[in-house]
Symmetry: C2
Subunit: 288 residues, 2 copies
């Protein structure tokens, strides 16, 4: 059996996986002060209680990690953690693997749809991440930056500044943050609103909310068209909070993609993740 751990800002989801299926899963709270000890203690307990044989533990982490050394988990507030050292305290004889959470979600969703051999998944959450699968394997990249498509330049009239320091990144528009930012801009309002509230307004035909969805869909379609002339995958997946908008977003993204994509790649399917929040657990359990 394999264990896949999906670390989030508020909860950690832990899955027990075999034969590309999540057999069991549970979650614990993300407690900054004892995060990885909490995770390892709970896994140790689970293993001894259920008497299972584990071939490895994989982590999907919301931040930058390289060779099991965590540089930063900004949403959790943790920096410079030697995950391998903690792992060895608990499981010296079980292998450890880790990468960022968007990569794990991409791999999980990919493994769940075995008819495709290459895919690109975009996670549209507070930020915007992604993961690229080629020949059924995750592409990590020379700098562990494959999938950082949230920082693709798509040239818009907004010139929104991104948290990364650049301007006009895809993430400034096509994330939950982007959705609320656009709604405030278009409605000339300073009141707080969530992305979900914007989608609900759109579903009741609110003009401003529909304009937001249109703008987000155009940005996403341009980004997918750019990804596709760069690596030409079998299928695209959209995941994360913004993807929960469902058909009202998906239909527009598909429509604009057909308009913007190079003629050779116009027919690439664009789907919403079916595994949703479980993709990360499955993917992290197949990093090896």
């Amino acid at each position: 059996m394999r264990i896949g751990v999906d670390v989030g800002g508020t909860t950690v989801k832990i899955g027990i996986v075999d034969n590309y299926k999540i057999l069991d899963c549970y979650s614990i709270k993300t407690n900054k002060d004892s995060l990885f000890d909490d995770i390892y203690k709970s896994i140790k307990e689970y293993i001894s209680k259920n008497n299972i044989n584990v071939s490895g533990i994989g982590f999907g982490l919301p931040g930058s990690v390289n060779n099991n050394y965590i540089k930063a988990l900004p949403n959790v507030g943790l920096y410079d953690i030697d995950l391998k050292e903690i792992h060895n305290k608990y499981f010296k004889d079980i292998n450890l693997y880790s990468t960022n959470d968007a990569n794990c979600a991409a791999l999980g969703e990919h493994l769940n749809n075995p008819k495709y051999h290459s895919s690109y998944l975009l996670t549209l959450g507070t930020g915007l991440g992604g993961g690229y699968i080629y020949n059924d394997k995750l592409v990590i990249g020379a700098n562990c930056c494959t999938g950082e498509v949230g920082h693709m330049f798509i040239g818009s009239e907004f010139n929104f500044k991104c948290t990364c320091g650049l301007t006009n990144c895809l993430e400034t528009i096509a994330s939950a943050t982007g959705v609320t930012r656009l709604y405030k801009l278009f409605s000339n309002s300073k009141e707080d609103i969530t992305a979900k509230e914007v989608f609900d307004l759109a579903k009741s035909n609110d003009d401003i909310a529909l304009h937001v969805i249109d703008t987000v869909s155009k940005a996403l379609a341009h980004a997918l068209a750019n990804i596709q002339v760069t690596c030409d995958v079998d299928v695209f997946y959209l995941a994360g909070g913004v993807s929960l908008a469902g058909d009202i977003l998906l239909n527009k993204v598909r429509k604009y993609y057909k308009e913007y994509a190079h003629y050779g790649v116009k027919d690439t399917p664009i789907e919403i993740s079916t595994l949703k929040e479980k993709a990360g657990m499955l993917g992290s359990a197949y990093l090896w």
Copy 2:
């Protein structure tokens, strides 16, 4: 030994390759009416004259090809050619491989620099093509469109219409055609000028020509930054006529790339192809 054939609009270059080196090469004229018979007859003659053993013949073609069936070579004016059928007339027992010329140039340049294991090459010619190498192998893509980065959307103020039907494609700016188009626009002139003449003007500090190079460099830098968040390669190569501008272009592309690239990939090396017009022969000889 391997034979690599690089088909161009005016000449066909034929290389005899072994151990990742071009041992000998020659060229013949591109004659539309007898193109592939000319090529095969010359190869047959070369082989019997030099008494060599050939394991395969690879073609780099300036157009779209899939499974050795050529759909279109627009610059030559040839369409719908079953290359396999012609090949079998001459060499039933030697394997045949083919892909587009930019893919071959990418593979050739990559093999010539064995310290890198992934790379992206852009050929800046009349049009703009590209090729992506991952794990030392050419990525072809689901629709044979990997590397069609000439049709990446980079959102500019120009709104140039591309030959592909889209607007604001990278190729409308960062190709030889783009260079002359920009020079005419900036100088408000209708006189013909070649890309080489624009570069020569820039080298003698002509303001308009320098502005063209600046514009082309910004577009290229944005495209490279986008490619890099999508697949994060070890190195970029620039090839083709526009790359012959040399340092005056390269230094600006490098400078703007550092400005536009995501912080995790700012240090990716950008180089001008060293194999130049020989890359295609080497690459086509290693399609298998």
